[in-house]
Structures are given as structure tokens and as C-alpha cells.
Amino acid sequence: MSVLKINKLTKKFGKLTAVDQLDLTIEEGQVYGILGPNGSGKTTTLGMILEVVAPSSGSFEWFGGVENVAARQKIGAILETPCFYSYLTAVQNLRIVAHIKKCGTSNIDNILKQVNLFERRNDKFKNFSLGMKQRLSLAAALLSDPPVLMLDEPTNGLDPEGIAEVRQLIRDIAAQGKTIIMASHLLDEVQKVCTDFCILRKGVKLHEGSVHEILGETNVVEISSTDLDQLTTTVSKFEGLEKLEKENGSLKAFLKEGQSSDHLNRFCFDQGIALKKLIPQSKSLEQEFLKILKEND
């Protein structure tokens, strides 16, 4: 069952088209990254599927057709700045969330312990530091143990330790089989935590696919041995070789289609050379991202 199906969703602000005919399908269990530079329509898209921004046209469907309000009660969302009643305490604020999500208040203490706010549970929200406010919004999102978690720039404004914590948390939650939808402008972040992703630019979807696929191995292998000159002459005779480049004390072998690093390794071994280094080079999302942007220019 699809968690979310977006169909030709469009949002216009006057003359500006923020999101243009967006189609998207997110399946259960995916960690889905919506990747794009600032102003590419990520937050507007999230706003529309949460019904706080009215779409100009198009439609979307949660959980194969569950009514939108009921669907939102099954989604934990953390969007940009944490929003709570400043005159209420952490517990009082979470009671409101529990009431809205119809999930009961018995889990509040546990959740507050989990995000490390239990000691401050009876302090007013207005006295919280930014980090504590962010942790409270995390607590609110996790309170109902939702099957879907939605995050907008989850590591924005956090220190390196906080970033590592949030990423670990996303992986932990994903490991429980939950679906995660996140918007980010950080390639590295999407590469590290997402299973699937799409790229948005100026509201248009440029690419969609699995992270693993796009990050597969390249046909380039970095090799070296004790005697680099001997290696160069030998490898040049390798039939599966397309091109050979010398770089920083090692060689870069570009292999032909259908050839892989183990073929090369066996060939060298048969020629009596033991390789000191053999590194198949993998793609980085950054290279692919730039490539995709270029293709679409």
C-alpha cells in the first residue's frame, strides 16, 4: 500500500509557480528524501499535503484514501520552528497534542524521558532553550507512535552532536519499519539516511529513484602496487581496459562495460603482480546531483 500518492499537485503564488505538476508516490517503509535547493518548493509541498497550504490544483491521497484529518493524526510532523503554547508546560502542551491525535496521555512521561526533557516537564515552554524546544517538538511528533514521520530540514540549526543524534534517530525509527518523509537541501544528509529520493528544482521534479541505485559502483578502479611502472605496462595489456590514468602514486583504471574489479584483480595476479590497493570507486550523490541538474538545463 502506498503511504502517499501525489497527483499533479500545483501551487501558484501569483505569477510564481512554487510547485509544478508534481507526481510522487511514497511506499511503506521508505525513507524518502525530497532534495532540492532553497526555494525549490519542498516546504510548500509538505504544507500542501498537511493541508496548511491550499493547492492551486492537483490532488493527493494518504494511506490509499484515508480521510485527510484522520491521516494527519497518524503522522508525526516536525516542521521548521517548534510551535507550542508558550504559557503552558511541556506536559500540558503534550496533553493538547495527545488530545488532537486521540492517542491518550499515558505515553507522555516515557516520551519526555526519551528526548531528555523529563526533568523539565513542568517548566513553561517559553523558558526553554532552542534545543529543548526542538526536542519537545520531536516528543510531540513521536507521542502517538505514528507509522509515518515527516521532517523538514531536520538538522537545520543543530550543532554537530545534535545532527548526529537526529540522524541516528531517523535510522532507528526507519529500522522499526516506519515510513519517513524528509525534505532537505543537504545532499550528504539524504545520501546518509534515505533509501529513496527525488530532486526538485523550481517546483519541478527532475529525478526520482533509489539512493542505492544511483550510488552504485562506477567502472573506475583505483589500483597500486610496489612497482607502479611495471603495473602500468601489465595492466595496459588487460583486455577489459578502456583507459588508464596515473594519479598521486596510484592508477585509475577505467573498465569496459561488463568488466569489474575482480576481473582486473585476477588478471594482475595471473601476470604475477600482487595489488597493494584495489578500490572500486562508488558514485557520490553530489556528482550525480550536479549531473542531473546539468542534464536538465
Binding site: G47, A70, R72, T81, F84, I96, H99
Partner: protein, 279 residues
């Protein structure tokens, strides 16, 4: 509706500002509706008389006149109830919690219902307090305590309740448009206590235009609300001097505020659906 009211209750029960404003309102209402006897005693102590009568023998607490007297007096402090509504609605917009609530899982309709339930609750409590304090004052001072008279002219209480509800909906509409609470309060104060009364007074009483414009004043938002319990110059106490006063709203004076209530609700719904809630 219970779910909507519970949501509102969770937001307000620990909110000091709300309890202070609500307490002040009830206190002001109590003083103005039940303080009459002290005023009359003060007049007596100054040896001021009304048409040759000792003021303290005026039957201001007599059943059923007390209901008309008290609701007319109570309307003078209704501006205070709009402060509560403005603060409550304004919080949702300035803390961005309206957006957060919707993301968490309510509809815009439920949000409207939760505020409406608050308005009905406040107006209900105020009317109930006025009724109770009226009963107590009446049984203490009234020359008539026959139950038939005690519970007659109850339409004044219905009119009072309606006045508070429609006025609160007016404040709700203003708060949805004007996002600064202080500015919204000043605006409501100026419009309902200064601008509209002056405009309607001119339309109603100016010698040259009166014949043409008299008929339209009853459609004005505040004028129609105030007509429910009598305009400030339609004092029920005039009955003690002239013997003749207007009792209760006419049929169209009931209908016009109801129409306004629908206009306010439609307007708020329209704004909620149209506006994008951005952070």
C-alpha cells in the same frame, strides 16, 4: 462539540491571563447589575431625590423588571468579553499553533468549532451569573416574589446571551484579520464605542437626513447587537419617571443579529480556508 471544547479547555485551564480577564468581566458585570442599590443609597445620602421621591424606594430589583434592568446595565461591560476572544484567537496565530494543531490532526472546521464552543461557554456562564445574582438581589429586595413574576420576561436573558455571542463572533472576525492583539482591541473599542455610535446617531437623529436614513441604522453590526438589550439611551429606568418604556426586542431586532452571526461565521470559515498558514 465536546472534543472541540475539551481542546479549548486544555489550552485555557492553565492560562492565567484568561482567568484574570474572565474574573474581571464577571466582577464588572456583578457590580454594574447589582450595585444599583448602593447608588440609590448614595443618592439618598446626598439628599438628592427623583421627582420628589426617596430614591431607595425605587423598585429596581422588582421581579420581573429586574431582568430588563440588569441586562441593560450588563451590556455596558460587554467589551471585556471581546478581549478574551481576541487574546485566545491571537495566541493561535502568533504562536503559530493554529497551523500546528491542523498539522497534528484537526480540521479547520474543528478549530472554528472549538472557538465557538468557548464563546458559547463564556456567554452561558455570564448569563447564568447574571441570572443567579438577579435572583438573589430580587429575593432580597423585590416587593413581588410570586414565582409567576420571578420567571417572566426571561427573553431579556436570552437577548443578553445572544448579545454576548454575536459580539464575541464580531471580535473573533476582527482577530482573524488584525494579527496584533493590542491593535485589534483598540479597533474594536473605537468602532463599537465611538465610530458606529456616532454614525448611527447622525443617521438616526440628524434633522435633515433622518427621514431617509433612520431605517438603515438597525442593520449596523453593533447597533443591532445593542438593540437586543436596549441602546444606552433606552434606559429601562425611565419607566419610573415616564411610566412608559419599550419592553424587549421586536421580531426583526431578534433576526438581524442572527444574520450577523451567520455572516461572521461564514467570513471566518472563508478566511480559514483561503489563507495559507505559513510559518
Amino acid at each position: 462539540m465536546i472534543r472541540a471544547f475539551t481542546l479549548e479547555w486544555l489550552k485555557l485551564k492553565h492560562y492565567k491571563v484568561f482567568w484574570i480577564l474572565f474574573g474581571l468581566y464577571l466582577l464588572a458585570q456583578l457590580i454594574i447589575t447589582n450595585g444599583g442599590i448602593f447608588f440609590l443609597e448614595w443618592l439618598q445620602s446626598k439628599e438628592i431625590d427623583i421627582e420628589g421621591i426617596d430614591p431607595t424606594i425605587l423598585p429596581i430589583y422588582d421581579f420581573p423588571d429586574i431582568w430588563h434592568n440588569a441586562t441593560w446595565l450588563g451590556s455596558f461591560v460587554k467589551i471585556l468579553i471581546s478581549f478574551i476572544i481576541i487574546v485566545s484567537v491571537n495566541n493561535e496565530l502568533s504562536y503559530n499553533t493554529l497551523r500546528q494543531n491542523i498539522i497534528d490532526g484537526i480540521s479547520k472546521r474543528e478549530f472554528l468549532l472549538s472557538k465557538l464552543s468557548l464563546i458559547l461557554f463564556l456567554a452561558g456562564v455570564c448569563t447564568l451569573v447574571l441570572f443567579t445574582s438577579g435572583l438573589i438581589a430580587g429575593f432580597m429586595y423585590s416587593h413581588v416574589t410570586d414565582l409567576k413574576y420571578v420567571f417572566s420576561n426571561m427573553e431579556h436573558l436570552v437577548a443578553y446571551f445572544m448579545q454576548l455571542v454575536v459580539f464575541s463572533l464580531f471580535a473573533f472576525s476582527v482577530a482573524m484579520v488584525i494579527k496584533k492583539a493590542g491593535f485589534a482591541i483598540v479597533l474594536i473599542f473605537l468602532y463599537s464605542m465611538v465610530f458606529e455610535p456616532i454614525i448611527t446617531a447622525i443617521l438616526e437623529f440628524a434633522p435633515f437626513t433622518k427621514d431617509y436614513t433612520e431605517g438603515i441604522v438597525k442593520f449596523f453590526p453593533i447597533y443591532s447587537i445593542e438593540k437586543l438589550c436596549g441602546k444606552f439611551y433606552e434606559s429601562p429606568f425611565a419607566r419610573y419617571i415616564f411610566q412608559e418604556i419599550k419592553e424587549g426586542p421586536l421580531w426583526f431586532e431578534w433576526i438581524i443579529p442572527v444574520i450577523w452571526a451567520f455572516i461572521y461565521l461564514t467570513f471566518i470559515t472563508w478566511i480559514l480556508n483561503k489563507r495559507d498558514l505559513k510559518s
